[in-house]
Symmetry: C2
Subunit: 389 residues, 2 copies
């Protein structure tokens, strides 16, 4: 049995992906751009194995066996096997694959776990099969945004123009160590009711949002400008484009029929908090972005982190007053918010609105874990997690 | 002293007005279309008087004296005096005007009271000064949407193309008795916090919403199609265009920077209620539209009114369970919602979310009240309401 174990990161788009022009090949209607988050806080971990004794392809996600018959999984398998390196001993075409994957964060967090999951699967398979060259297009076949999780730092998914999708690939914009001051704070909002899935949501938007075409024309300039801002470490420009693009994505959702609403009253209070804080500072110091759910992702610089987290804790405290919000990831020393800050920000104190924070930074792309202890499968090719139960 | 007393209606747009191309003349970036509501439920009432003894122009709104120095009021005065009929005995150019105006609904209802108020002022002045011909353009100078309250039924505000605004006027699409089955239900939402004013909001949207230009291109076709639907009494088409245009207006607000959010969680639950109800009926039976605030305005036909009001009462009951929502205006006989209806509509029961309902129909344009008892000013030209206090 040959195994490979890897990890892959979550990414959060600052220029949003919303709309496919090809549902099978997952070709987007516009390019998008994201930051790859640190894997200490948020990552998928996957072991892939091949052995002549395996009877069929099998997959376990977070300890539960899942089918491998989905078109997306099959597309990933087919494309990876097709590109198998010649020098490799593994018989990728005939041997069956076992896959075991786990996230280090609850799926209930409402973070796009499929991007990290598919990136990790494709990266692991590419190592197993010794695939050379571009693999982000294979990850794209699993989940569009997964192609951006193939690299660290800031990453652009270039929409491409070829009908076979071969130029619809991810490109690294800057390395993960390019902008070390940049912090990312995920505000996990308490109300996690079921939302319209992004696959279905973007289908309806493409079908009937009358504003989406205009957005498609607007995005290239935004990509160009935010890329320059990232390279120049120009936070103000980066932040304003990020917020405008998040708002525009949600505007397109609302212009869809029936309308799609991912933002809640709490999301809007966070938006209001950020704008009032920036106004008060007379400088754009914090940017928000929201994906297909109510959770906020804030971008800000290290120097402003304690002040901002302390204010978030002030306006969105846990139910039990006196306690502070749980912060996962990098520790932050909370301050007592100044009266001046509290006077300047006119939003109600809303207990129990935010469940917890995740404090992270820009991170690396997928990693191979060579220590056999990291392997998620036992010698029989079955999940160790099941064995121990 | 010569006095005239009139009433004028509220209107609710189904194709929204959002954006001016001329702030002084109040020329819109797109045409809009509204229904005029019944005055039994919602109206402004205004008495205007001229007398040689008056020292200055004076105005009382809802019992409180207000200045008349605002540019908008002055534009209305100037334009009305300019068009004074020759055969009239009133010396419109030199005599001072007293104005007293009251609404029969609380301004806290969040309904656009300025449209009814300016329509009533302009209509009253036009009668006082014997102005002949078009007056909706004068009302437009007070408040853009006021021009639509100059007529009953369904009314289009044609944006016009002349730089002096003389062709930016209201035109009646159908009379108030054209579609007698049409009902309008205003759901006054409890949370009435201060929102971005529409004048300021649309200024920012014009400045920086990158999607607004696309909307401006889309509106003419919507006006054409909804006009045909109204003439044909095609409720399904009317309702779908109405909902899409409300959603698009709020999408533009969200695409504005900083973003403007008028819809709350309650508004979104009402939207979800309407779509689920329509899906359940396999027919579009209810349409929602939202202006610059969280209140919903529902359009529906008389035959569906008891069922819909009963369901609204079920999902949005008063705080004190067992009571029913207060219904102002036309009475409705509540039913016990069927289990089938309740099973089909999957939204949480949200007590205390809706304050009360206003049940009304399509109504007439402004009316002259000739009974002297209706006059709001006493023989000294001062408000009777102040006298009695």
């Amino acid at each position: 049995m040959k195994t490979v174990t890897c990890t892959a990161p979550v990414n959060i788009a600052v220029i949003k992906y919303w709309g496919k022009k090809d549902e099978d090949l997952i070709l987007p209607t516009n390019s998008s751009l994201s930051a790859t988050l640190g894997q200490d806080e948020l990552r998928a971990k996957t072991t892939v194995a091949v052995d002549s004794s395996f009877k069929e392809d099998k997959m376990w996600l977070n300890g539960k066996e899942e089918g491998v018959v989905s078109k997306r999984i099959q597309n990933v398998f087919r494309e990876t096997r097709k590109r198998k390196g010649n020098q490799d001993s593994v018989d990728g075409l005939n041997q069956k694959i076992h896959i075991c994957s786990e996230n280090n964060f609850p799926t209930a967090a409402g973070l796009a776990s499929s991007a990290a999951g598919y990136a990790c699967l494709v990266y692991s398979l590419s190592k197993l099969f010794n695939v050379q060259g571009e693999i982000s297009d294979i990850a794209r076949l699993g989940s569009g945004s997964a192609c951006r999780s193939i690299y660290g730092g800031f990453v652009e998914w270039q929409m491409g123009s070829l009908s076979d999708g071969s130029d619809s690939i991810a490109k690294q914009v800057t390395h993960d160590h390019h902008w070390p001051e940049m912090c990312i704070l995920v505000l996990v909002v308490s109300d996690q009711k079921k939302h319209t899935g992004s696959t279905q949501g973007m289908q309806i938007s493409v079908q009937n949002s009358t504003l989406l075409q205009k957005r498609i024309e607007i995005v290239p300039n935004r990509i160009k400008n935010i890329t320059k801002a990232i390279i120049d470490k120009d936070f103000v420009t980066f932040a304003e484009i990020t917020m405008k693009d998040s708002n525009q994505f949600h505007a397109i959702c609302l212009d869809t029929y029936p309308p799609i609403s991912y933002l809640t009253d709490v999301s809007r209070q966070i938006i209001s908090f950020v704008h009032q804080f920036n106004d008060h500072c007379q400088q754009t110091k914090v940017a928000y972005t929201f994906d297909a759910g109510p959770n906020a992702c804030l971008y800000l610089l290290e120097e402003d982190l304690p002040r901002v987290v302390s204010l978030v804790n002030h306006y969105f405290p846990p139910q039990n007053n006196g306690l502070t919000l749980t912060i996962q990831g990098r520790p932050v020393t909370l301050q007592t918010p100044t009266q001046e800050d509290k006077d300047a920000i006119n939003i109600p104190v809303s207990p129990n609105s935010i469940k917890y924070l995740i404090n992270t930074k820009i991170g690396k792309g997928p990693q191979v874990l060579s220590d056999p202890k990291e392997c998620l499968l036992n010698d029989d090719g079955l999940p160790k997690s099941l064995q121990s139960q």
